[in-house]
Amino acid sequence: MGASADILAGSVPPGAARPGGDGRIRIAGISQRFGDVRAVDDVSFDIESGELLTLLGPSGSGKTSLLRMIAGLAKPDAGEIWVGGQRIDQLPTHRRNIGMVFQSLALFPHLSVFGNIAFPLWMRRCGKRETAARVREALEVVRLPQIAARRVDEISGGQRQRVALARALVYRPKLLLLDEPFAALDAKLREEMQLEIIRLHHDLGITIVNVTHDQKEALTISDRVAVMSEGRLRQIGTTVEIYQRPNSAFVAGFVGTTNLLHGAVAAGGEILVLADSIRVPLGGDKRLAPGAAAALVLRAERLTLMPAEAIIPADLASLPGMVRLRAFQGNTTLFEVEVVALGRSLRAETTSLSEASRFPVGTAVSLTWRPQDAALVPV
């Protein structure tokens, strides 16, 4: 796995690395097991200084375990962790100088907002005046009004998030770890906090490792995404790479609304033979050897519905089907189209209202796509 991850690792966009930062991270062969469960299984990757990397994966895929090892809250069974050119996996947590925001936020209930944010400064023996100044500054950074004297259970959910962020930033750590801190927020507030993170990341130039199971969040805020499942690193790359060139059926299925068509490659890699000998053309640059089992990744928004009687342009691939379900979702409309020949339904999405209105449930349609828009992954 390690080797293939290296090959597939996308290059870091040049804008992501900022001069002066010392938040380079190297995760090398990290493993952790709990009894028979391999929570983290030989994971290796590098993060550039100033980058925002998201660990994305379903629940139980080992994201939290990996993050806790970076923070020193758990010991890896094997592997090394380097931050800023220093090996840290033998250091105790309190010497690592890493900021972390917990899923539960873990604000100290017996301290005020001020006390919470000042806590790491007390530990660093800051003077009284400097402490006050830096707490004020941190509160400004997270754009909180004057609430320093409040109890942490007297403030709103969004304010608590910001206090937790301020607490993790006030001592200017090289690295900030976020363990799904927004998972419990309602959708509106979550979006707002995601934008807040983008802004903070841009303003402070700090290295951030964010954990989420929400693929939308990962695509929204990250420079790069590392997809994990069952403790293994499945793919790491820029958001665009992950979305457009998934390396496996798992990654393709996990990110975006996706239809996977399983089949076998034929005709020198130009054709995929699906069930019932249906043949669809393949485009793009990536070829698999003839005879290989593969899956075609059809993103819902790349599928276009056409009336069944329309003539299909020669450069499009198509499958005949029947609309079974139409759901208006605000900015998009989702279709479920039954393809009898394949014995299953495919999902298509359109942003055009006029197009959506042309295909009520029961309409016979052709599902079409440009072959180069569909990635092919080995299975």
Partner: protein, 262 residues
Amino acid sequence: MSRFTALCAGIVLIFMTLPTILTAILSVSGDATLAFPPQHWSLHPYLALLEDGGLRGALLRSLQAGAESALLCLIFGLPAMLALQRLRGALAAAVLAFLTLGFAAPLAVSAVALLIVYYMLGIFGSLHALALALAIVNLPFLLYAVASSLAAIDHSLEEASLTLGASPFLTFLLVRLPSLAPGMMTGTLLIFILGATEFMVSVVLTNVNSATLPVVMYGSLRSGPTPMLAAAGMYYVLLALIVVLAITRSRALQQFLYRRSS
């Protein structure tokens, strides 16, 4: 909750409070002997009690024994509970069962058992020895109170403290102890008042010089109850009331009373 339930509860609660109300009424009786209803009213019993060297000394000894026993429980019980939390399975259960021996054995039995040992050790009659005995039989209250606080602990708080740069030592002092404080307070207050009002163990383990207020009251009760005794009882009622109000205001009591596992 039906009105019927509320009515039943009300009757039961009034029934349980009736003797206390009566004690309160008779504690301001101006009569020489205790009889209901009082013929005269007076605050004299309360003042006489404080002037009576014997009773006042006994009251002070009671408070001292209660406080000492609470302190002993805290000093011995808190580290034990913290250590116990790291044990698992049958060993943990066995140690806990041993430490709560004071609950398993009837007070009357524990009292004579301790008496035998105290005679062997030559510490019978000492007030500190009584405090130790009270600590032994009441230790479970502290263990349970601390355990319910421990069960409610959010471990991510301690982890957060570590990531923020606090050493394990400071994390213990600044995060763990404050989260346990409510349980420690509830347990300590309970043991203090239970110790100060305890009778069974005290009557066996004290002599004339170390008799606590309940023991002295018991002695005078046999020679006939007086309004002064009612006043002495009211001091205890008041003390209990203060303690109860203090702990019902705390979150710890709620953790303790409404705990998940019974």
